[in-house]
């Protein structure tokens, strides 16, 4: 049985708390519905949510009893409440919209209130009519006061279509978050870093890279960016220039149409066994990279990943 705002209802076997709430007519803000984006985060008042529904939450979130109802099919009774203060939620002004390639739009936002984050974390953009999508943060707060996102333009994509088609500098959006642990934390300054991703997985990697350089990281850093073809390699000139300025940074574009195999190339990195590894991009690729690199000798505790869940 689930109790919410004084109403109690039963779940079908295997049904999630989110599905039950929606069936009972409760509106919940959602996005990935797969236990990743934390859009639907709620608070447990009584009872035990499933372990899966608290996976990836921070110690402070766990201490507040937050969980993700979209992946919670509880074994016992639960009393749940809205987690109104689960995230920082601030209004932001669109500062600029700039194409980085045919398929990627750089969106810079100016938060209108204090908004603390670490590069590589992700935020949710929320429109007035309740559309929610998650995007990784490419900017570094100490270097640029604007929150920079790389938005993949998806045919039929609701948020990306709106940002490209009908959003202009000066417009307002809500930003909530940040979430995610794919950040330059917990690594030794002389440890090698391997940053690997595809598509807009470059956004968090770009954030981590600049954070590492700004903090004086001394170990070798290699960034592997996978794309279907040349057109998918955005920020290429900037990355090549950065590699020219920093002897310990190498940029390795991997093009599928040229026959490059991202997994095989990253796996062959000579520093794999002692490197801090960052994996970002669509979930299937990230999970294959994680398994491949672990079996090739990367330490599990040294692998940080941000797997994107797709939504139209």
């Amino acid at each position: 049985m689930i109790t919410f705002e004084g109403k109690t209802f039963a779940l079908q076997p295997g049904q999630t708390v989110l599905a039950g709430l929606e069936e009972a007519g409760v509106a919940v803000e959602t996005s990935c519905r797969a236990g990743v984006c934390q859009s639907c985060l709620m608070q447990v008042v009584e009872g035990a949510p499933s372990k899966r529904s608290q996976q990836g939450l921070s110690p402070s979130q766990l201490a507040r009893g937050l969980f993700m109802p979209c992946v919670c099919a509880p074994e016992g009774d639960l009393t749940v409440a809205r987690a109104g203060d689960a995230h920082q939620r601030v209004e932001a002004e669109v500062h600029s919209l700039e194409p980085l390639s045919d398929s990627v739009l750089r969106v810079r936002l100016k938060p209108l209130a204090e908004f603390a984050y670490r590069p590589g974390q992700f935020v949710r953009l929320i429109t007035e009519d309740g559309l929610v999508r998650s995007y990784s943060i490419a900017s570094t707060p100490e270097v640029a006061p604007l929150v920079e996102l790389h938005v993949r333009l998806i045919p039929g994509g609701k948020m990306s279509g709106r940002l490209k088609g009908s959003t202009a500098p000066g417009d307002r959006v809500m930003v909530s978050g940040p979430s995610g642990g794919c950040t330059y934390d917990g690594v030794e300054s002389d440890q090698p870093l391997i940053l690997a991703g595809a598509g807009t997985g470059l956004a968090p990697l770009w954030g981590v890279l600049h954070d590492a350089l700004a903090r004086g990281h001394r170990g070798p850093i290699t960034l592997y960016h996978g794309a279907l073809d040349e057109g998918g390699l955005y920020l290429r000139e900037e990355l090549e220039a950065l590699a020219g300025r920093h002897a310990h940074f190498a940029y390795r574009p991997c093009l599928m149409d040229r026959g490059d195999d991202l997994l095989a190339i990253v796996k062959a990195d000579p520093e794999l066994k002692r490197a801090g590894v960052y994996l970002c991009g669509d979930a299937p690729l990230v999970e294959r990279l994680r398994k491949t690199l672990f079996l090739a000798g990367a330490r599990l505790a040294d692998i940080r990943a941000d797997a994107f869940a797709a939504a139209a």
């Binding site: 996976q55 672990f294 599990l300 505790a301």
Partner: protein, 126 residues
């Protein structure tokens, strides 16, 4: 008396133990299929708890947890041969970490004590 868990180095050593053990499990043809398509971070956390428990560290599994956690695998055909394979890989892991043969025998006995729960059977008196 110190436990093997303490002698191996406690909690920090368990990360290294999981790396060795999980790699063995994923590449062993006898049992790797039970580990396909699962969340590796979650699985690593479970293995860490398992290794902590069998080396005498602070972990509190109950027989009921073991039954619930493996019921779906029993339905997929998990049996004694797979359990034996895991014990073998566990022994190999501990050997690589420098455990003594008598420690390994003790860990094997501890792991065996949950065999019936893992395989979803009534306990059989020896």
């Amino acid at each position: 008396m110190t436990t093997l868990y303490d002698r191996l180095g406690g909690a920090p050593a368990m990360d290294a133990a999981v790396d060795i053990f999980y790699r063995k499990v994923l590449t062993d043809d006898r049992i790797s299929r039970f580990f396909d398509d699962i969340d590796m971070e979650r699985q690593a956390a479970k293995q860490k708890a398992f290794l902590t428990m069998v080396t005498g560290g602070p972990a509190h599994y109950t027989g009921a947890d073991m039954r619930r956690g493996h019921a779906h695998l029993v339905a997929q055909g998990l049996d004694d041969s797979h359990f034996d394979a895991v014990i073998e890989l566990l022994a190999g892991t501990l050997t690589e970490l420098g455990a003594r043969p008598e420690d390994i025998a003790e860990v094997g006995a501890l792991a065996n004590s949950v065999r019936d729960d893992v395989l979803g059977r009534e306990a059989v008196k020896a």
